[in-house]
């Protein structure tokens, strides 16, 4: 009863070659370092092995909503005015989120107001009228959700550009699975994250506002001069420390709430040096549309003052002498060259749509990563040798069979990781060791069963046949349960833990092939060569 195994053996060798290629690719040489580089080229090391910084940050998406509400409120007033309707105030409603309150509307124009609002803002807002000649615009939940999602996408894009411009290789910047407003940033090789963190976190929102009053030495003086309250369409802002044109630092100005130029209007920015003082400064240029608007505004408002506001601090205050088209300069005296470069880069990549908080940081030094690799590899080799040697002693001839299957299992696992570009983490290495330990389970199940069948008096060929048949369902059951656990780990886990789930799952899938198919072929080919009546070494 000889079986023809040629096709199966060819298949096994084909698989072996394919997955060895998966591990090494085509190495540049056969020396130790060349092979090592070839492996590292295909199997990427996680941050915990390579060293690097892992950050989780939160985007304050509510800020973007408030920002949009403030802007829209200013626009509502302009639109109403253009339709010949004057109301006493249009302000964000502080009592309710995402709501604009219009008060003092002329009662006889209520219909007109409603139609203007519905026409212009009906897509994003629910318009309703209230008592005492008021109207409210409430942002629709779908519009808020869209806005928040855009804010997230935009933030990720901006952070990616900033990280790229700092020259970090292979960064990961992606939404973080645990929260809708969180972003995961992984920076391999960055072991001193302070500067990167600062660059990422800078909102870099540059705006130009009209100056309406000031300067005053502090807020109290400003309030006194304004008669106790700040008009609803303006705000008080401090000058930045070291802001040059504004005189002494930390003064207070009253500026118009709505910006003439917003952060998204910047087309380009460059670091340069002032022609007179040779101090570092940043020159920025506006987009065409914003430039036109700005020219119109400055042409019509000669003699008034403008201020450049960066992240809610006034950097420059200047009087409009002439029409300005599309350029401006920030020259705060305390800037050094590095800061000027960083700031121009930030302006080029654009403002973050909302500010960012760090929720988590983990930095693994490269020396710890190197130690982890050493220890992980040592533990793997010791564990694997222990298993291989035990199988040889306990199952004798069949132990060789199991050992071959286990080694092939390992090759397939590593090759699979090479093909899919998986990331190997320290728990991932543990997953490889565990795969060896758990994978041998299938062999033991089969071998124990074969021994039982042999004890029951069956011939070696029949015993092997029965052993594999009976163990098969049990093997499927045990694999499914472990893979279910690993899948749940993958869904809920993050970073290194996911790496563990991935290696464990790949390893056990490969194990089905090696322990059941390959091991069977080895048995069959051995049985083919065996003399009639000889016993199986098991």
């Amino acid at each position: 009863m000889r079986k023809n195994l040629t096709q199966k053996i060819v298949l096994i060798f084909a698989v072996l070659i394919v997955f060895v290629f998966g591990i090494f690719g085509i190495p540049k040489g056969l020396s130790g370092t060349a092979l090592k580089n070839a492996i590292l080229d295909r199997i990427h090391l996680g941050l915990d092995l390579k060293g690097g910084t892992h950050l989780i940050l939160q985007v304050m998406t509510d800020e973007a909503v408030n920002f949009a509400i403030t802007n829209d409120a200013a626009h509502v007033q302009t639109d109403l005015q253009q339709n010949g309707i004057t109301v006493s105030s249009v302000i964000p409603d502080t009592a309710h989120p995402a709501t604009i309150l219009i008060s003092g509307a002329p009662p006889d124009r209520a219909g007109d107001i409603r139609s203007v609002l519905n026409q212009r803002y009906g897509n994003q807002y629910d318009v309703s009228s209230g008592a005492n000649n008021t109207f409210t615009l409430t942002m629709k939940p779908s519009a808020i959700a869209d806005l928040k999602k855009n804010t997230m996408d935009h933030s990720i894009e901006v952070i990616r550009q900033r990280v790229d411009s700092l020259g970090v290789s292979e960064p990961v910047i992606a939404p973080y699975s645990l929260g809708s407003d969180q972003i995961l940033v992984e920076l391999p090789g960055v072991d001193d994250p302070a500067r990167v963190k600062d660059v990422i976190q800078s909102t870099a929102r540059l705006e130009i506002h009209e100056v309406q009053g000031g300067p005053w030495p502090d807020e109290q003086a400003a309030l006194q001069a304004l008669g106790g309250t700040v008009p609803y369409d303006s705000i008080l802002l401090h000058t930045a420390p070291g802001a040059s044109a504004a005189g002494s630092p930390n003064q207070v100005y009253q500026i118009k709430r709505a910006a003439e130029v917003a952060g998204t209007d910047i087309r380009d920015a460059q670091a340069s040096r002032n022609q007179n003082t040779n101090e570092p400064e940043v020159v920025f240029y506006l987009t065409t549309a914003a430039g036109n608007h700005f020219a119109e505004f400055t042409g019509a408002n000669k003699g008034k003052s403008l201020c450049i506001v960066l992240d809610n601090k006034i950097q420059e205050v200047a009087t409009i002498h002439d029409q300005i088209r599309d350029t401006g300069t920030i020259s705060g005296g305390s800037m050094n060259e590095q800061q000027a470069k960083d700031l121009s880069m930030l302006l080029r990549t654009g403002a973050l749509p909302a500010s960012i908080h760090y929720l988590q940081e983990s930095t693994v030094g490269p020396s710890l990563g190197a130690d982890s690799i050493r220890q992980g590899v040592l533990a793997s080799i010791v564990g694997m040798l222990a298993v291989l040697i035990f199988m040889l002693i306990y199952y004798r001839g069949s132990g060789i069979n199991a050992d071959l299957a286990l080694i092939l299992n390992l090759v397939i696992l590593l090759g699979f990781m090479g093909f899919t570009g998986s990331v190997l983490t320290l728990p991932g290495i543990a997953g490889v060791i565990l795969t060896i330990g758990m994978g041998v389970d299938s062999n033991v199940l089969i071998f124990e069963r074969i021994r039982e069948e042999l004890r029951a008096g069956k011939s070696p060929a029949a015993a092997v046949d029965q052993g594999f048949a009976h163990a098969w369902t049990t093997i499927i059951d045990t694999h499914v349960t472990t893979i279910v656990s690993a899948a749940i780990l993958f869904i809920f886990g993050t970073g290194p833990v996911r790496g563990f789930a991935v290696t464990l799952t790949f390893g056990l899938l490969a194990n089905l092939f090696t322990a059941v198919f390959v091991s069977r072929v080895i048995f069959d080919s051995h049985l083919n060569k065996m003399q009639r009546g000889a016993t199986l070494s098991i």
């Binding site: 983990s362 033991v444 049990t474 780990l489």
Partner: protein, 402 residues
């Protein structure tokens, strides 16, 4: 070689011993969770700042503690790292309790760093303005070398690249020594003489290095805790459903109770030994849920097979026989997995310590529970049904199997 041939142990007859054993360990664990150590949590869950520092010699903990006190750091915990096969690694973990809000997350780290620098390096006047070679990052080092330009190569790209390579070689040397350079003189083996001379002149060794920093805000900690709990529950539920589908509901219930028992005792072991539960420990526990299920399934499979062969025999006898028949396999595979896990525990290093500890405990308990908890539960359930005058309805199988 064969260890378990023709075993005939009356496992079910010992069920009271088993029950006692399981109760003692579960209750001890639960008591410790409730009244003694609680559940010590890693920084991932607890939130806070953890800085792992390695020194070039045995650090004086009291000295560090005093320095931290002087810097105004409150609730500082300082532990030396032991294990990983080495008797002493000169490493300490300095941890701070979490800050109330996310904004001040960074302050703890900065304070710890300043404390260390003040006490180990920068306070010496000789080191003012010099580069700390034990802590400088590779990029910093490359930039510093390019700026000093000891080989007078100018600022060409080739020069930058040359100094970047020198920096890489120095960092490589440092990494091979776990982050501490033994002496600047020895760097001559990896650097050019000019660079070495520059290092000797303008760099120093502070004798400590920051190996790892973890800062977790309260928000993330709470999220991760919730996720970990959910993952464990989902995984138990997943097992229940699968076994229900493959066998019968009562098999699923018995197996899940056994696995829950394993999880409880493993977590209890962490509490009793006052070790911290981290994200990777949760990963280990989830793996155990799957693994411990394996043993149970193997026994159940055999029970089902034997039930089909001999319907007349009392269930208790069948269960005993099934356990005995699969005992060799159960002990062997658990033993082999245990070998690999033990190797992880002994050689895998400090980072994986909790992970491998969970697996070491869990595999022992998981093997025990499939014999001593899951199978007796099946029998107890049937006896309970018979006691209520109902027929035994443990089916052989839902469908014929080959």
């Amino acid at each position: 070689m064969e260890l378990f041939r023709e075993v005939r142990v009356d496992w079910l007859g010992k069920k009271w011993y088993f029950l006692g054993f399981s109760l003692i360990f579960s209750v001890a664990g639960v008591l410790s969770l409730l009244f003694w150590h609680g559940l010590p949590q890693d920084v991932d869950f607890r939130g806070g700042t953890v800085v792992r520092v390695k020194f070039d010699q045995q650090p004086n903990l009291d000295h560090i503690r005093a320095a931290a006190d002087k810097a105004g750091l409150k609730d500082v915990r300082i532990q030396t790292i032991v294990g990983g096969g080495q008797s002493t690694s000169n490493e300490v973990i300095i941890s701070l309790a979490h800050s109330a809000n996310e904004e001040s997350l960074d302050q703890g780290r900065a304070a710890i760093l300043q404390t260390l620098e003040a006490n180990y390096a920068r306070n010496s006047a000789a080191n003012q303005g010099k580069l700390d070679l034990d802590n400088a990052g590779q990029a910093t080092l490359a930039g510093w070398l390019a700026e000093k330009d000891p080989e007078h190569l100018g600022s060409s790209d080739a020069a930058q690249q040359h100094y970047a390579q020198q920096a890489e070689a120095i960092v490589g040397y440092r990494n091979a020594r776990s982050g501490i350079i033994d002496s600047i003189d020895n760097l001559g083996t990896v650097t050019t003489p000019a660079v070495l001379a520059e290092l000797k002149q303008d760099a120093f060794l502070s004798g400590f290095t920051i190996r790892n920093v973890e800062i977790v805000g309260p928000q993330v900690g709470a999220q991760l805790k919730k996720q970990a709990l959910l993952a464990t529950l989902y995984s138990l539920a997943g097992m229940l459903v699968y076994l229900w589908f493959r066998f019968e509901l009562i098999y699923g219930v018995a197996a899940v109770v056994a696995v829950f028992h394993d999880t409880l005792i493993t977590v209890g072991a962490f509490s009793l030994t006052n070790q911290e539960v981290s994200l990777t420990v949760i990963a280990a526990i989830l793996t155990l849920v799957g693994y411990s299920m394996n043993d149970t399934i193997v026994v159940f499979d055999r029970i089902r097979e034997n039930l089909r062969l001999t319907r007349r025999e009392p269930l208790a006898d069948i269960v005993n026989r099934s356990i005995n028949q699969t005992l060799s396999r159960t002990v062997l595979t658990s033993g082999l997995t245990f070998l690999t896990v033990l190797s992880l525990y002994l050689f895998g290093g400090e980072v994986l310590h909790g992970f491998s500890f969970a697996l070491v405990v869990g595999i022992l308990i998981g093997t025990y529970s499939s014999i001593a908890v899951a199978a007796p539960m099946l029998v107890a359930y049937q006896e309970w049904r018979q006691g209520r005058g109902k027929a035994a309805v443990l089916p052989a199988a839902k469908k014929a199997r080959v």
